[in-house]
């Protein structure tokens, strides 16, 4: 592309097919202030001029950054040279007012080469204009007389200025120089009459040489006593030449006038645009943004009545835009009227409300379900909505909002049902909770909510878990009952137990003992018993005929003696391990159901088992993300152990004995300090193998702390400590089964820490 081509009126020539840049000339605007601006032969800017000043200010604000030239004109009364000087002074006076130059105005109180010096009359006009916040200081006649009312007004102003403007004026009612400066400052500080700080304003006086209405000499013509304010883009071109030569006037003026692209005459009172916004049902729309652009630009916002008033507008056609979130924006033209008196221009506007219609697909579900929230809307594409969920029943304080975007007039967003609380506030649970969904965008809220029915999967009747396992060659019958009650997983484990007694076997092969004797089925071993105070060390063995002392030097190692239980079968005491052993003689009887032993079994063992297994893990629907405090799709575990005493030994019956011999899977000793054995054995019923070497181990078990089926640090391991996640697998299977049976919903569940 070549150099920019200067624009010329009538068009410029360019070549087809060759890119070209046309440089537009800098624009010039003109604002003409006509009317009662000054008194005859005075430079004081009169109070009635303020509405034009405000309009000028608004025009400047709409065209920021322009260079300002205030150009004064006079009619043909009086000598031409005098009129030229007077028009210059008036321009300077206005420039000083627009830029808050207090000292410049204060100088007008001194004798002037042109125009009359200011005095009490100007004081009175200013005191009659400015207020103490409620009323003008001077309500009297404008006559230039420093009379009592005027002095009172001056004094009132002095007191007020000292209190509110930080001055130290004498409060004597005398309009001295300082008082007048303070008064000028207050006069100049009237709302919306000052150009932005730093605005450079030049002045020029054209005298009587460029009349608006040509007249003969000495003719008084108000339209010629005017001030024109030129506003230039990119500097004042051409610069004014002073003084304006007579009688032809200044040639620059013609250039300025010819370059003017828009001329605004402020000879009327400015107009007020009254926008009234209502929706398509006639209801007022509050908070709508109003913007007008034309000769000036301005903004407003509608009030509770849907009304926004924008005043101080020059006459003309304006672009009117009214908008509010949730409504289709209004855009149109309006002509602002002005006149000798203030005029309102009504502009009724109808804003059509936008809509969002939401629905759930499906409209019914339960926690953890993934569904879609869909909708239609006339919001523009990309509009982001906040979907707000509100329960119709209960409180569900943890419900979260989600977002969705309009696309092609539709909304389609996936949603997981979560954090619904079915708590009914009275200790129970609701069978369902209906969620209302509304779409919000800014101040907009969709009117008719979508409704989702969330079913509480809170209760399910008991069912049995029953499985036969073989781990490391050992068989295990896993069996328990499970039900869901008020969102709690209730697991019932029951053991059949039989009253039994504890004895010992000892290996005496090192002492030359061979063969079997006395009912002990293993060669080289004999039954042994405790007659002393140490339950752990048998002090007698049965040699086949008598109970005799243990051989001297017998050392109690891990492999040469052990505990064994016997139950009374008829008149005989038979071993419970299935080896066919019988006990020689009898055991002293005891009360199996004494308070001590009943408490031990039904309180200590039951409570320990409960505490080890309960509330450590919840069974939660897989991929359900509800917070733990919400029941929703989580079911805490409660494990209850119970005992059923039987009279005969059959498979899976546990022999329960007095004493503190070391318990094992089949024989439990009621004085044993390791009370967690019951919790461990309950673990087998709940489908868990041993996790210690020598136990019924599942070597395929890895992870979660287990290596090849071994994990010492857990309830199924050697140390009988806590429950791990893997130990809850059967509960998760059962929850799936229970929920499916009761509600017909087939979901995967898993154990998660409580």
């Amino acid at each position: 592309m070549g150099e920019p081509i200067p624009y010329a009126p009538g068009g410029v020539k360019i070549s087809v097919g060759v890119p070209a840049v046309v440089a537009l000339p800098a624009r010039t605007y003109r604002v003409r202030l006509v009317g009662l601006l000054y008194e005859n032969d005075k430079t004081f800017l009169l109070p009635p001029a303020m509405h034009s000043i405000r309009t000028l200010k608004r025009f400047y604000d709409s065209h920021p950054g322009l260079q300002v030239l205030v150009n004064g004109h006079a009619d043909r009364q009086g000598p031409a040279d005098y009129n030229r000087s007077l028009s210059e002074e008036r321009a300077k006076s206005m420039a000083a007012f627009l830029t808050d130059q207090v000292d410049a105005w204060a100088s007008y109180y001194k004798p002037q080469q042109v125009g009359q010096a200011w005095g009490v009359r100007e004081d009175q006009m200013m005191l009659a204009t400015v207020t103490d916040g409620s009323a003008p200081f001077y309500p009297g006649a404008i006559n230039g007389a420093l009379n009592g009312p005027t002095k009172d007004a001056v004094k009132s102003f002095q007191i007020w200025a000292n209190a509110n403007q930080g001055t130290s004026l004498k409060t004597n009612g005398v309009p001295d120089a300082e008082t007048r400066k303070a008064l000028i400052a207050r006069y100049m500080a009237q709302d919306e009459t000052s150009l932005p700080a730093g605005t450079e304003v030049q002045t020029h006086g054209c005298g009587e040489f460029h009349p608006d209405q040509p007249t003969g000499d000495s003719v008084s013509e108000p339209k010629n006593r005017r001030v024109e304010v030129f506003l230039f883009e990119g500097g004042i071109q051409p610069a004014p030449v002073k003084p304006c030569p007579s009688p032809k006037g200044c040639k620059e003026y013609a250039v300025w006038s010819d370059a003017t692209v828009e001329s605004v005459d402020l000879d009327d009172m400015p107009g007020t645009l009254v926008v009234t916004a209502s929706d398509d049902k006639g209801a007022p729309v509050e908070g709508a943004d109003v913007h007008i652009a034309g000769t000036v630009s301005a903004d407003g916002k509608t009030d509770g009545s849907g009304v926004a008033k924008i005043d101080t507008l020059p006459h003309g056609e304006y672009q009117l835009d009214v908008s509010k979130a949730g409504y289709k924006a209004f855009s149109g033209k309006v002509t602002v009227l002005t006149g000798a008196k203030a005029v309102d221009t009504p502009a009724p506007v109808t804003l059509t409300k936008l809509f969002v219609n939401l629905s759930f697909e499906p409209a019914k579900g339960s926690c953890g379900d993934k569904l879609r929230i869909k909708g239609t809307t006339d919001f523009p594409d990309g509009t982001e909505f906040v979907i707000h969920l509100k329960p119709r029943q209960g409180s569900s304080p943890n419900l979260a909002e989600l977002t969705a975007k309009a696309n092609g007039g539709k909304i389609d967003q996936e949603m997981e049902i979560k954090n619904v609380s079915f708590d009914n506030g009275a200790g129970g649970f609701l069978a369902k909770v209906e969620l209302e969904a509304t779409a919000r965008a800014g101040d907009f809220t969709s009117e008719t909510p979508a409704v989702l029915e969330v079913q509480a999967l809170s209760d399910a009747p008991a069912a049995d878990f029953d499985a036969h396992r073989t781990w490391s060659g050992f068989t295990n019958h896993s069996h328990f009952k499970q039900r869901i009650e008020s969102f709690v997983n209730k697991v019932d484990v029951k053991f059949d137990i039989i009253k039994a007694w504890g004895g010992y076997w000892v290996d005496l092969t090192s002492f030359g003992v061979t063969g079997t004797a006395g009912g002990c089925p293993w060669a080289g071993r004999r039954w042994a018993r405790v007659t002393g105070a140490n339950d752990m060390a048998p002090d007698q063995y049965y040699d086949g005929s008598n109970w005799v002392a243990m051989p001297a030097g017998f050392s109690y190692t891990g492999t040469n003696y052990g505990a064994i239980a016997f139950w009374k079968h008829g008149t005989k005491f038979e071993s419970t391990d299935g080896s066919g052993g019988t006990w020689p003689g009898a055991f002293a009887d005891y009360d199996f159901n004494s308070a001590k032993y009943t408490t031990l079994r039904n309180t200590t063992w039951v409570n320990v088992t409960h505490d080890v297994w309960s509330r450590k893990f919840d069974i939660r629907r897989k991929d359900c993300h509800s917070e733990p405090k919400n029941k929703c799709c989580r079911y805490p575990l409660e494990v209850s152990l119970a005992f059923n005493t039987v009279a005969s030994l059959v498979a899976e019956v546990i022999a329960v004995c007095p004493g503190k011999l070391r318990s094992n899977a089949a024989n439990w000793f009621m004085d044993e300090p390791r009370v967690r054995v019951a919790a461990h054995e309950s673990g087998h019923h709940m489908d868990n193998p041993d996790e210690y070497a020598g136990g019924a181990v599942d070597p395929t078990l890895n992870g979660d702390g287990a290596v090849n089926g071994i994990d010492a640090d857990c309830i199924m391991g050697q140390n009988l400590t806590g429950v791990k996640k893997r130990h809850c697998h059967a509960f998760a299977e059962m929850v799936q089964k229970l929920i499916k049976a009761k509600y017909g919903r087939d979901s995967i569940y898993e154990a998660v820490p409580s």
Binding site: G502, T509, A533, N560, R662, N664, G695
Partner: protein, 291 residues
């Protein structure tokens, strides 16, 4: 060769008396009861045997805990190697065990290869497979236990006659004996409630009737010594007595049995570099009559 082949080849040489193979040979028997007993027997190919224990597996009265050291002749070590060879340790099947119960871990090293077996004790019949080895190790352990380096045992000394039924106050001395050749420190028995006394009425039953476990009561032992130092030194081959007073409630006249215990689970095996023993020891049953 795979590790088991290396192990068996070296073990064969050791069993045959090959000195280099014997020098590299070793076997350990570790007996564990979780949070209670840890007993370790180590036999080296050189014949050196050592044993450490912190509690009798059976809470046996008068049992010595501590460190013990003995020596086996070459034939005894060869015999162990031979038994190991016959057992085929690594190929032994599972031995039923009880959760939290006694567990015996046997490990051996030969020719740079090692093998281990964990032996549960829940099924006596299952132990038949390893009984020759276990019996041998029991016998060795018994012999080594007779040769303490530093040991601790407990006896209780209190009057056995002239005691009236009812609430009685007894003075007694707990005697801590170190049967070893090196002096030991122990946490002072008079501090921190480390000592206890249990007692119970001894029912007299016909010999063919096996009594129920005695119903035992625990009596508080109040030390005679106020503000004892934190440690008690028990010289080598010597003993130290600590006085206590206790109140017993003897509900009826007859024969009673009592036993005392000392338990120290505080951490640390040394005090200023000197050996400190810890664990649990028990006195033998002491019988007394209440009239």
């Amino acid at each position: 060769m795979i590790e088991s082949e290396v192990f068996e080849a070296a073990l064969s040489k050791a069993a045959a008396g090959n000195d280099p193979a014997l020098q590299a040979f070793g076997i350990e028997r570790l007996t564990l009861v979780p949070q209670s007993v840890e007993e370790r027997l180590v036999i080296e190919g050189s014949g050196r045997a050592s044993m450490s224990t912190d509690r009798s597996l059976a809470d046996l009265g008068g049992y010595e805990i501590g460190e013990f050291r003995g020596a086996l002749d070459k034939n005894a070590v060869q015999e162990l190697a031979t038994l190991l060879l016959q057992m085929k340790l690594a190929k032994l099947g599972p031995f039923p065990a009880s959760p939290g119960g006694v567990q015996v871990r046997i490990s051996a090293v030969a020719g740079g290869a090692s093998q281990q077996a964990v032996i549960g004790t829940a099924d006596p019949a299952a132990l038949d497979r390893v009984r020759p080895l276990l019996s041998k190790l029991d016998a060795i352990a018994g012999e080594v236990h007779k040769k303490p380096v530093a040991s601790l045992s407990l006896t209780a000394d209190f009057p056995s006659e002239g005691i009236q039924a009812g609430k009685v106050s007894l003075r007694m001395a707990l005697v801590f004996r170190n049967g070893g050749s090196e002096g030991i420190y122990i946490s002072h028995p008079a501090a921190a409630s480390r000592c206890a006394l249990v007692y119970g009425f001894k029912e007299e039953l016909p010999p063919d009737v096996t009594p129920l476990p005695m119903e035992l009561h625990e009596a508080i032992l109040k030390p005679a010594l106020r503000d004892p130092p934190p440690y008690l030194y028990v010289p080598a081959g010597n003993e130290a007595a600590v006085g206590f007073e206790s109140t017993l409630l003897l509900e009826k006249p007859g024969k009673y049995l009592a036993r005392a215990s000392y338990t120290d689970a505080s951490p640390g095996n040394t005090v200023a570099g000197r050996r400190k023993l810890r664990g649990a020891v028990f006195s033998a049953d002491t019988a007394f009559k209440a009239s």
